[in-house]
Symmetry: C2
Subunit: 502 residues, 2 copies
């Protein structure tokens, strides 16, 4: 394979590799139209690619599809400070755009908070409906998109540059393209509504003795800060412990090393308050909030920061928790939505299901196996919970120590292997969500398997679909909609929702 | 026709009338499934109906379709104050839900601001992606929907109760259902994320001498209030004049009656600031803002209010402007998106295009025709502009005095007649939007014709489509997507996007 096309064939994690011999790097929509019309005529598969930072394998070819990279379409077309509307080409890198937006004449900020900030492209951010945990005010990029232009699989240009979030007329086709991961067409122009730049940001790290206090702090924070609360992340002791143990991190809170017997459990809250209003004092509102909840006996330890560098340090454990897990071995992450009050019940359920599948830390810090279950089975080493409490978006993480028998099976079955202990957890979660009458939500959103530098969206595997689609008719519907957009099935084929036109 | 089914056959405006003999009023999703399965089997058309307050004729039958009204499915299923998540059935009336939400134990508010607040249903609000002008923070209901359940045209139940705004998995089918006006299925459950209840609301009415000052006030307001700015509506002199003249309103600003010669033009701004944060003082922030911009010479008159009743009075002219137009005769309203800086150019364009089509008010207040153009043609009486400046959502309104020749044609061609003077305006607007290189947006969003108690979404007429779809391939695509959801075409048929399966 020619060296020039190699980087377009391998995904960010190195796990997915294609064999495309043709990479097109257009600079205009018209060039994309020309290429797609040929592909349509000759029925060639197309892979749209931006920064190629996808973790799900959807931005690289599977076989020899034509890669259309929008990387060179990187012009900012217009910025209107009065409405905060930015129009740009899909190859613009968020960090570069932010640099332009933060100039005094615009004073805007991108409603986006993602790890691949400086290497991904806006087109890909839209196609994956990017989201972050420090943007409570802007849950996903979808909320801020006011216009799109895309080239359809037949080469037609679909111009949806309404400049408005209201779909005052027929279907809002923008909504289909957002989050579609390139299966409907190639995004060639994006209009984003950007908020004003925050004038101050306060970060706080609070430690509570019990989960009840966490809920109470959440309620106080919602009342106190309302629309200025930009993040409220919960981490349990296990999550913090993993970060400390595996990353040799010096956590900014005084607590003992993982493995020693503790007097009692504790719970951590990472909070951020930010506002772009100039009539707000930039004084440390977080400090007085922490004082208040401490005086109420809700929080046993707290620290705050309004300095940018120190704030980044405070955010460290939350930002690094997944990296820390990966050092342990293979990580399984479940994403679900619950109400904050349901969390203790969820934790109880997880613990009871996994009890016989756990490795246990003894008093002296050494790990010992519990007696039941085959001695050579894979075991759950860490099981912890973290997430965004004000929206109920919770992540359950299980790190798995491979057992000898599972390892053998894994080598036969490849990266998509689930150990039996994780399958039991998954079924328990699935049934709990579906059966709980008090739970308004019935879906497990996704499950990822993360092993050193390899992240597999489990949701794309048949093993997952089986559970996921029990009783849901949405799969057939999604295939029909895909066919409506792409009757020949040439756009990003061989991916989760593709089909082959025979 | 039996009296019982009559009200389900006639729309809110009295303009659209169907002849359905069968209205079903289910109380459960299962009952809807049973009815739809029969309709699917027998290929009977179905019209989903909520409060039947649609102004576009999409909630009433065209012929003898079966009406499925969700009005009796009016239970609130759950409210979680910590995440602000409300789950309810589609027949719940927004005003009733708000009453429950405002209780101290929840302290939430619906992110919705619509005129039919107390007679429409939540299901219909979602199906039309309801929006209002006093919710800058929540531009449309789409932004707040975190879960939906719907019955598909084949009777399958599509459960999308993710509880999350992130579509972490495949297509986000919720987005298709939102704003679909019943063409894809019947919404049977809704999960909405509601913000905390505002702790204070300040309203201001400001008058500026020139449009430049309006833009400057907008910029100050964005900086000063940022995320707490909940409304910023602009109205030009013409818009205010119509409200005063036709409604005999006593406007709360000292200005002369329409028709007298003025020294110069003026411009009005209606502003609202609201916050649910308890650390905000409820003092009148609007008063000090008005003082500030007056001292800067940007505003020649201003008044503010934090009292609810007085605030409603201040909002009067903005709220009543369409009602006022209707008293004049037939009203044509164009909706478009521009940048605030483009407004003077737009106004100039409109005035130059319509000059020969105008009736002119002479110095003594009497109306006289300009000499050119046929004496018996329909004339534009009022031409004015209002809209939401921070998002650039602008409405251009032309009220038309029928000329004798047009009247004759109108009686032949029915309610969808456009007078030649309006067609000229429409084409000018359309071309301006499409051709302007500096304009990021290329679409005229919609055009409505409003005559006494009759509102026609012009966008649903072929005459409009002709211009609207010039060069846009989206119509075919929308029909294919409709077919994917509803292959037999039984769901809300004979409407704008329907097709008949032959």
């Amino acid at each position: 394979m020619a060296d020039e096309v190699k980087s377009f064939n391998v995904d960010y994690t190195g796990q997915y590799r294609g064999a495309s011999k043709l990479v097109v790097l257009p600079t205009t929509t018209e060039q994309i139209v020309d290429v797609i019309k040929l592909c349509d005529l000759w029925k060639l598969g197309i892979v749209p690619q931006g920064g190629n930072t996808s973790l799900t394998g959807n931005s690289t070819p599977t076989f020899d599809e034509v890669v259309i990279s929008t990387r060179r379409m990187n012009k900012i077309i217009s910025i209107d400070a009065d409405t905060g509307t930015v129009v740009c080409e899909p190859g613009v890198i968020p960090a570069n755009l932010e640099q332009t937006l933060e100039s005094a004449s615009y004073d805007l900020t991108l409603p986006l908070d993602i790890g691949s900030w400086d290497i991904s492209c806006i087109g890909g951010n839209v196609a994956t409906n990017a989201r972050g945990y420090r943007t409570l005010q802007y849950p996903t990029l979808r909320h801020s998109i006011v216009g799109l232009e895309a080239v359809l699989p037949n080469g037609d240009v679909l111009s949806l540059m309404e400049g408005s979030q209201a779909d005052q007329f027929g279907m809002d086709l923008k909504q289909c393209l957002i989050g579609s991961e390139g299966m409907f067409g190639i995004i060639t122009k994006v209009a984003i509504r950007c908020p004003s730049r925050p004038k101050f940001t306060n970060v706080g790290l609070l430690v509570c003795d019990d989960y009840d206090s966490v809920i109470k702090v959440l309620r106080y924070a919602r009342k106190e800060f309302a629309e200025t609360l930009s993040a409220f992340e919960y981490m349990d002791q296990g999550a913090l412990g993993v970060a400390e143990r595996e990353l040799y991190m010096k956590l900014p809170i005084p607590f003992n090393h993982y493995g020693t017997v503790r007097r009692k459990k504790f719970h951590a809250i990472f909070m951020e308050v930010s506002s772009s209003a100039s009539n707000k004092q930039s004084s440390n509102v977080m400090t007085s909030f922490i004082d208040k909840v401490r005086n109420l006996g809700l929080c046993c330890y707290g620290m705050s920061s309004q300095d940018k560098q120190e704030s980044e340090k405070l955010w460290g454990p939350r930002r690094s928790v997944i990296t820390a897990c990966k050092a342990t071995g293979t990580v399984f992450k479940f994403d679900l939505t619950i109400t904050p009050e349901q969390l203790p019940e969820l934790v109880h359920l997880l613990e009871s299901v996994s009890a016989s599948d756990r490795t246990l830390a003894s008093g002296d810090g050494k790990v010992q196996r519990v007696p039941d279950g085959p001695a050579n089975a894979a075991r759950i080493k860490d099981l912890f919970v973290f997430g965004q409490l004000p929206t109920g978006s919770i992540h359950v993480v299980a790190t798995v120590e491979p057992g000898t028998c599972d390892l053998a099976r894994a080598s036969l079955l490849g990266v998509h292997q689930t150990p039996a202990c994780v399958t039991r957890l998954k079924m328990a979660l699935y049934n709990w969500l579906r059966m709980r009458k008090t739970s308004p939500f019935s879906r497990l959103l996704s499950l990822s398997k993360i092993s050193d530098e390899q992240i597999t969206q489990w949701t794309h595997q048949p093993d997952w679909d089986e559970h996921r689609f029990q009783g849901f008719p949405s799969r057939d519907l999604q295939l029909s909609i895909k066919k409506a957009w792409d009757p020949k099935g040439i756009m990003n084929p061989y991916k989760s929702w593709s089909f082959i036109d025979t």
